[in-house]
């Protein structure tokens, strides 16, 4: 892994001036990219930089408006995913393209050449998965599998087509650190076999660790080619963002041990609501004024169910399972819990966090129709539009929400900007307890730093903050202690001074299941 260009073989794929236009947006604007045989090439960029558009064109899902693609030196037109596969390009999708109601083997069969006998696929898939150390049950229904297992199916499916170029779109965002390590081993092995890999990620440490070369995109344009080994994470981030990313400042919480417990979850159990959801088992947790507690875990281990239970989207059987500021709220719905001074930011922005077709100010009104002294409602229940508009403007300015109109519909905003608005909407209430699920998922680095800093400041001003996130870097940046959720059970929180990636990663993988009553937490601290 020297990044020495001379070591790399001849060009396998050569992309010249590739352009894709959606309406007035130039999603990809004259992109050049060269991938050699036997290299792992990183594609870096912020959300919306055009990475996904570029790989979709390489895989034949989108048709470029201009530019050419050379494969082994010959110009080609990739008109469909089948054409891409025939050339020898395989893809592992970011949002998995799997069929939940079909078995693993059936899922694999669907992407193989149509003359492959279906009866032999299960055996082949099993053999291949074992040889790469990615065990897989071909007869399992995909709907029953974890995210990590689903990704294995995607990878096996891709490898069975014996591609020369494998495109991986943010493959580690859903994996535990240990699972990611296993993936890296697989990728190293594939490189050793002479295959090329186009690796899309925004995790710069990974890129530095594995990739031979990197191409950085910003606003649809290539802003640079570089050797990740020669760069630092900070310099790579600068290239991606185009400006310095502010470091998060987190002063240690003072006197948190003595502060009042504002959020208390006491032996919470929850039966699964759907066949694919996770039951919660005996979850206990307390968050004190002034501290940020992080909850780590691989997606689909009960974090969503846990959030629903605390926010009141799902109510409990006993009133004292959840208490906010000393009040037992287990039987209350969302509005009741918000009235006690809590604020919630769900993971899903459109549909949960905001009503997509309604404007930002209407969404603001919806979230405060019952709380905050009904500040936006007049005596007869009429809407005070002036006060509403002022508050919406205040929030948008505070969070630097970029929008195309004064008061656009929620669905017209990009995911990151909408998240800024939703977080701002809740922060604006100065909540005593703030619970956030995936605060910066899909948000670009600059805005993410802004959101994280705001959460820390809220805590230091005397609120209790609970953050559920899949992004370990984020949790390490902002938390005073991190607990791990695995298979519906919550570990005891580990104080940040004692927490390491390895420790948390083992817990995420379920190495140390079981839960310890929250009283013991202080002994560790």
């Amino acid at each position: 892994m020297t990044g020495d260009h001379a070591r790399l073989g001849e060009a396998l794929l050569d992309v010249r001036g590739l352009t894709k236009i959606f309406g007035t947006l130039r999603a990809c604007d004259g992109v050049d990219l060269t991938i050699s045989k036997g290299e792992i090439h990183a594609l870096l960029g912020e959300n919306g930089a055009g990475k996904s558009t570029l790989v979709k064109m390489l895989f034949g899902s989108l048709e470029p408006n201009a530019g050419e693609i050379l494969w082994r030196g010959k110009p080609v037109r990739i008109t469909s995913p089948n054409a891409a596969r025939q050339l020898g390009i395989g893809m592992v999708f970011q949002h998995f393209s799997l069929f939940e109601a079909l078995t693993a083997a059936e899922n694999i069969a669907l992407s193989l050449a149509s003359d492959t006998p279906i009866s032999t696929i299960a055996a082949k898939a099993q053999a291949l998965s074992h040889s790469y150390g990615l065990p897989l049950d071909p007869y399992a229904l995909v709907g029953d599998l974890s995210v990590g297992e689903r990704q294995r199916i995607e990878i096996i499916r891709c490898l069975l087509q014996t591609p020369d170029l494998i495109i991986l779109d943010e493959p580690t965002s859903v994996l535990t650190p240990q699972e990611a390590d296993r993936l890296f081993e697989t990728l190293e092995r594939l490189r050793g076999e002479g295959k090329s890999i186009l690796y899309i990620s925004h995790r710069l440490e990974e890129v530095k660790r594995m990739c031979d070369r990197a191409t950085v995109l910003r606003h649809g344009k290539v802003v640079g080619h570089c050797d990740p080994q020669q760069e630092t994470a900070a310099s790579l981030a600068r290239m991606m963002v185009g400006s310095e990313v502010h470091e998060i400042v987190r002063e240690p919480a003072k006197g948190a041990e003595a502060a009042a417990v504002l959020l208390e979850v006491d032996h919470l159990d929850r039966a699964p609501a759907t066949p694919f959801s996770i039951p919660l088992r005996d979850v206990s947790l307390s968050v004190r004024a002034g501290e940020v507690i992080g909850i780590a875990g691989v997606a689909g281990n009960g974090q969503g169910e846990f959030f629903e239970a605390i926010s009141g989207e799902a109510t409990q059987a006993r009133a004292d399972t959840v208490s906010i500021r000393g009040e037992n709220v287990g039987l209350m719905g969302i509005s009741g819990r918000r009235l006690t001074g809590a604020a919630f930011v769900p993971e899903e922005r459109l549909g949960h966090g905001a009503a997509p077709a309604m404007t930002l100010s209407e969404n603001l009104l919806l979230s405060r129709h019952a709380t905050d002294d009904k500040a936006f409602l007049g005596s007869a229940g009429t809407v005070l539009t002036g006060a509403l508009a002022t508050a919406a403007r205040r929030i948008n300015e505070m969070m630097d929400v970029r929008k195309s109109a004064e008061d656009p519909a929620a669905s017209a905003l990009s995911g990151g900007n909408l998240q800024k608005f939703i977080i701002g909407r809740e922060l604006d209430r100065k909540p005593a307890v703030m619970i956030v699920n995936q605060p910066t998922w899909g948000v670009d680095a600059g805005a993410a730093a802004h959101i994280r800093q705001a959460l820390i400041e809220l805590a230091r001003a005397g609120s209790a903050v609970l953050v559920i996130s899949q992004d370990l870097d984020e949790l390490f940046e902002i938390s005073d202690a991190i607990a791990v959720m695995h298979n519906g059970e919550l570990s005891k929180p580990i104080p940040i001074a004692d927490a390491t990636f390895e420790k948390i990663g083992l817990l995420m993988g379920g190495a140390e299941p079981g839960h310890v009553p929250h009283e013991q937490r202080m002994e560790v601290a």
Partner: protein, 324 residues
């Protein structure tokens, strides 16, 4: 021919159009398309089949014409719902309304005319077997075709690659598209198959079940077929069972209404009481039974969310626009 045998034969004849239409709609829905135009397509099949048989004197040509008319009519739905991506529910309803009107207009000249009957097969020797002989070996060809189609669909959906592809499109059209599967083309084929089956079902009504053309002669069978697909939770063999159950209900209802209780005086007491009880139920209630049964089944299967998710095509009725 005993009375039991006769009743069983009529049940089979009543169940066959339900089975034909429902098995076609099952394939359509498995591909993720909801075509509520079954009733309209059946009527088009019925009038085309009747007209063709009447003018040529060939019942088989009538059957073919019925299937063809159903297919053509379903293409109209396909063009609107798949190519122009209109709302599937509204388009399906419009197709039914159009089918009722159009078939009535075309069939105006046929009203009151004696039709041509597609006769029953009579396989020698076998059809003379006691009890099951006529039932299994002396039926009309549409009976055998409906059973063959059911078996064929079962084999196709769960044993062939093409069937797997079709189910995958119904489960997630975006995933299928990402893999390079031609979602719209597959749905067109499924919709056409559904149209052909509905057309066959209609032709069976006007060439086998009755041999005449009456306006709106399907009398809600298309809706029963639609309910049947849900009732069967998208499983072919359950469609078969359901079609015969609903067919039996229809025939039972007719027989009960035609029978005088005094004729049954010789029956054993419990049977007599049962007949008395059934006869006291209003006939409208019996006509509504298939729908009621479907509602009950829907409630029952929705209690088991896992089963529902496994069998219900997840993309059912959702519009699909490929991005290029």
């Amino acid at each position: 021919m005993g009375i039991t045998e006769a009743i069983l034969l009529t049940i089979a004849t009543a169940a066959t159009p339900l089975l034909l239409a429902a098995i076609g709609e099952l394939v359509v829905e498995r591909s993720g398309v909801l075509n509520l135009g079954v009733e309209g397509m059946m009527l088009m099949g019925a009038v085309a089949g009747f007209g063709m048989a009447l003018t040529t004197g060939q019942p088989w040509l009538g059957i073919l014409a019925g299937a063809l008319a159903g297919t053509l009519f379903s293409l109209l739905f396909g063009f609107l719902a798949l190519t122009l991506v209109t709302n599937q529910v509204a388009t399906g309803l419009a197709l039914t309304l159009l089918g009722i009107g159009l078939s009535g207009m075309i069939g105006e000249a046929f009203v009151g005319q004696p039709g041509v009957k597609l006769g029953a097969l009579d396989i020698p020797v076998l059809s003379d077997l006691p009890l099951v002989g006529r039932l299994l070996f002396g039926q009309d060809p549409m009976f055998y075709i409906s059973l063959l189609l059911t078996g064929g669909v079962m084999w196709f959906l769960f044993r062939t690659r093409a069937g797997l592809t079709l189910r995958s499109v119904g489960d997630s059209h975006s995933s299928a598209h990402a893999l390079g599967i031609k979602v719209v083309a597959i749905r067109y084929l499924a919709v056409m198959f559904g149209g052909a089956c509905a057309g066959l079902a209609g032709a069976q009504l006007s060439l086998v079940y009755t041999t005449q053309w009456i306006e709106n002669m399907t009398a809600g069978r298309g809706w029963i077929a639609l309910a049947l697909v849900v009732f069967a939770s998208w499983r072919p063999w359950r469609v078969l069972a359901g079609a015969y159950l609903f067919g039996a209900i229809t025939i039972a209802q007719l027989h009960i209404q035609a029978t005088n209780l005094s004729d049954l005086a010789s029956w054993p007491a419990p049977l007599y009481w049962l007949a008395e009880l059934v006869k006291s139920i209003p006939s409208q209630f019996l006509s509504a039974l298939p729908y009621l049964a479907t509602v009950v089944v829907l409630v029952l299967i929705s209690r088991n969310r896992r089963l529902t998710m496994m069998n219900t095509p997840a993309s059912l009725g959702r519009p699909f626009v490929p991005d290029r």
